[in-house]
């Protein structure tokens, strides 16, 4: 008996030792790689995964760490949580001046960013599946009626966290003038949330107000998630019939797509003056120092390297790769082509290493 116990004890000690050695060895053997942290909008997930693979294959000395969130959340990780981030890519470039220019890094006293590249455009559309309810009926003229039917389940992303969230609300507000019906917004949202989302329609100005607590009611036919990409799985599972998504994402996922009229899809330059009529405001303090207001405008993705980047060389390497041949091809293959040559805001403040890239 005692002998047996001793053996068990020895075995146990040996096991612990092995585990400890294994952990220590694997920590030492792994070659220290230079880390580049990329925070990107969820709608960039698919192409950025391919870029991560291609980049790491070309530059094995780097380890790309990608994290995807709703675009407002991406900003929060920089300006409110002060996380060390090397590349920021958001689905709404306006968030960069609104939040990163306007917030100083407490460590240096400098703003988190002072330039950005307008990386790509997109259009808002409605994703669905052939088996979705009324799929054979929905058109670019009647979509708002179908989406308001109580037996149709519609996926929304949270306007407090995600750019699709406030943009999909803009679409409903703009639809009122296009279809000559001032009840479209209310018909869609009435009774769906425990606290209402309100629209003030002043004709040439539309103001949408988001309450601090946003929770669907028990009987709601709207299903809300923190970001638009979180709706993909629900759509796939048949849990929802329709969801607002970007055109690029719908094509990447292979869903059926209902194109919204150019007056509404926030992606047609000819209609930008019309988009500008609408504004989304948060009825509460969302950020530590800035009151964000989201204005209707052309959808443009923004890319920047934060001042606080712990690895600016790595970030520049990534930026060059992204705008180089490989990056351009991956983005184009994913139905999300880059704007070339590089446009943006205060590009003269870009790191010197990147300046050669702007003209081609």
């Amino acid at each position: 008996m005692i002998n047996k116990m001793k053996t068990t004890n020895k075995l146990f000690a040996l096991l612990c030792l092995c585990l400890a050695i294994f952990g220590a060895v694997s920590a030492c053997v792994a070659k220290p790689k230079s880390t580049i942290v990329v925070f990107a909008a969820g709608s960039l997930m698919q192409p950025f995964k391919e870029i991560e693979k291609a980049f790491e294959a070309k530059y094995p000395q780097y380890d790309l760490r990608m994290e995807y969130h709703g675009s407002i959340q991406v900003m929060r990780h920089v300006t409110d949580l002060h996380e060390p981030i090397d590349i920021v890519a958001t689905a709404d470039q306006a968030l960069i001046p609104m939040l990163m220019y306007a917030t100083n890094d407490p460590a240096t006293g400098k703003p988190y960013a002072n330039w950005y590249a307008s990386m790509a455009t997109n259009k808002l559309a409605i994703a669905y599946q052939a088996k979705s309810k009324y799929a054979d009926e929905i058109t670019a003229e009647n979509w708002w009626q179908i989406l308001s039917r109580p037996d149709v389940r519609v996926g929304l992303s949270d306007p407090r966290f995600d750019a699709v969230g406030y943009r999909q609300l803009m679409v409903f507000a703009l639809a009122q003038a296009l279809y000559g019906n001032d009840q479209i917004f209310n018909d869609f949202l009435e009774g769906q949330f425990t606290r209402p989302i309100n629209l003030v329609d002043l004709g040439d100005m539309l103001i949408i107000r988001i309450p601090e607590i946003l929770e669907t009611t028990g009987s709601a036919h709207l299903v809300m998630r923190g970001s638009s990409i979180a709706l993909n799985a629900l759509l796939e599972a048949g849990e929802i019939d329709y969801a607002f998504e970007y055109e690029s994402v719908i094509k990447q996922q292979g869903f059926e797509m209902l194109n919204l009229p150019a007056e509404l899809n926030l992606g047609d330059e000819a209609h930008e003056a019309n988009y500008r009529r609408v504004t989304v405001k948060l009825d509460f303090r969302r950020f530590a120092s800035v009151e964000p207001v989201f204005n209707g405008e052309l959808i443009r993705y923004g890319l920047t390297i934060p001042e606080s980047s712990p690895n600016p060389e790595g970030a520049a390497r990534f930026f060059a790769f992204f705008y180089g041949e490989d990056g351009q091809k991956i983005m184009a293959d994913n139905h999300h082509p880059l704007i070339r040559p590089i446009e943006g805001d205060h590009l003269e403040l870009m790191p010197d290493a990147l300046k050669g890239l702007t003209g081609d």
Binding site: R76, V223, G238, R286
Partner: protein
């Protein structure tokens, strides 16, 4: 009791472990200001979420008793082929990542899922409903009850049951009047553990029923969206309530036993 000599290192390890567990909990309270805590206490969103969490875990535990005790009793009293396999399978929810459990549950209980489709005509839905929260909690916590109850039933002398049977009592009556009362303590402790585990569940519930938001989902959302200041008071309040309820239930179980 005579003091037995212990390996000195054990004391060091034990103290470190206790600090490891207590420190984060203490800091949760320390970093919460009284006003912040009070504001959170009267926030109707938080109150509703706490009520929902406790209710759902309660329903899950009740279902666990109805479904889990029979299996636990069978596993304690019968030997059959494949018993080891079943015992292993029942433990699976403890091992698989709970996000994976959530996806698996979605495939069964979603509108297009195997069971979800069947009960749809009854108006019973699981995604973003209380039923979904209950299912998520039930799935991840049921092994705790089955295992605890099985061990408790095993500890009851089967000769006692046998002699009651000889005296003419039905199997049902034997279970209710002999086995269950004798195994009471272990079963109750299993129910409490299951209930507590249900309250703490995040992954499976967040995938199946993100809303209505239970406290773990609410804490996650507040942390993600509004930061530490918004999240810690809720965490602190839940901690206090859980500790209180746990303490009361445990001492009640103890009192019944004595």
């Amino acid at each position: 009791m005579k003091k037995q000599k212990l390996p000195e290192l054990f004391v060091v390890a034990a103290v470190l472990l206790v600090i490891f567990v207590i420190l984060p909990i203490l800091l949760t309270f320390a970093s919460t200001s009284a006003t912040n805590l009070f504001e959170t206490l009267i926030d109707p969103e938080v109150a509703r979420s706490i009520g929902l969490t406790f209710l759902a875990a309660g329903i899950a535990s009740a279902l666990g008793v109805l479904m889990g005790l029979p299996l636990a009793y069978i596993l304690a009293r019968r030997d059959f082929r494949g018993k080891g396999l079943i015992e292993g399978l029942i433990d699976l929810p403890l091992i698989i990542p709970h996000t994976a459990a959530g996806i698996a549950l979605l495939m069964v209980f979603g509108r297009q899922g195997v069971l979800g489709k069947l009960v749809r005509p009854l108006g019973l839905f699981f995604v973003d409903t209380l039923a979904g929260v209950v299912v998520g909690m039930l799935f991840v916590s049921i092994p705790l009850l089955v295992n605890a109850a099985r061990d408790a039933f095993k500890a009851v002398d089967s000769d006692l049951e046998q002699s009651a049977r000889v005296d003419g009592a039905s199997a049902w009556k034997v279970f209710l009047t002999i086995t269950l009362p004798l195994a009471w303590r272990g079963v109750v402790s299993g129910v409490i553990t299951m209930w507590a585990r249900g309250i703490s569940e995040f992954g499976a519930v967040a995938i199946l029923a993100y809303s209505p938001k239970i406290v773990p989902v609410l804490i996650y959302e507040k942390f993600q969206g509004f930061g530490l200041k918004a999240a810690t008071p809720i965490a602190a309040i839940l901690l206090v309530i859980v500790v209180l309820v746990f303490f009361v239930l445990r001492s009640l179980a103890g009192a019944i036993d004595d």
